[in-house]
């Protein structure tokens, strides 16, 4: 029952952090859907690794699934990173720039 409780704590945690009013049914359903969608879609993205190596894909999928489910109320943690603050946006954009450059530079040279 621990996992089940964890799952339904998502909405409670979300409410504590972000809102002050009462939490309605539709909001809870939205947050739960978001949680499930995030887990499922990230795992689906990881499955794309099978085009590189099937064994690696299996290991990675299991690993990512375990990590995601163990940290279950993902949405509060996730939403803190997606704020409207300029500093966070700048940080992520520069990180992305460096990842792209590294990826294309090395990837283009070594294949």
């Amino acid at each position: 029952m621990k996992l089940y409780d964890k799952f339904f704590n998502v909405a409670k945690r979300f409410k504590q952090i972000f809102t002050s009013g009462s939490v309605t049914n539709s909001e809870v359903s939205g947050i739960l859907t978001a949680e499930l969608l995030l887990i499922v879609s990230i795992i689906l993205l990881v499955v794309l690794i099978r085009h590189v190596n099937i064994l690696l894909c299996g290991v990675m999928t299991l690993l990512v699934a375990i990590i995601l489910i163990a940290n279950m109320p993902l949405i509060p943690k996730f939403k803190v990173e997606q704020e409207d603050s300029l500093n966070k946006m700048l940080f992520y954009s520069i990180i992305t720039l460096s990842i792209i450059i590294i990826f294309i530079y090395w990837g283009g040279n070594f294949v």
Binding site: F18, S20, E83, D84, S85, L86, N87, L90, I94
Partner: protein
Amino acid sequence: MAYTQLAVLLTSGLLVIIGLFAAIFIDNIIKKVIGISFIEEGVNLFIIAIGYKTGGVVPILIPGMDKSWFATNAAYPLPFGLVLSSIVIGASSLAVMFAIVMVLYKKYGTLKTSVMLADHSHGSVNDE
């Protein structure tokens, strides 16, 4: 003076890096904008350096010049045209930025980015 082009390229790279550093790590919004102007200037300098030719001449054809000599010795003029429009665009976006900064200063009374441009959405919900 064969190292001129290389040195200019290095300078432009340094300017871009200084500007990026300022834009990311300095909290004061006006200095952030100054840093952004350095990025733009660095990129302009880089593009001008592409067109440079060691020992070349200015790409303006003066009457009486030998055309084939001119074609081999003149600098490449296309980047110069690009930089002209790029300078003007950069200056205009800088002007817009300062205008908005002045408006926002009236509202917040500070130039700190971490106050001015932080996420205000939760605060407004709690205040109501």
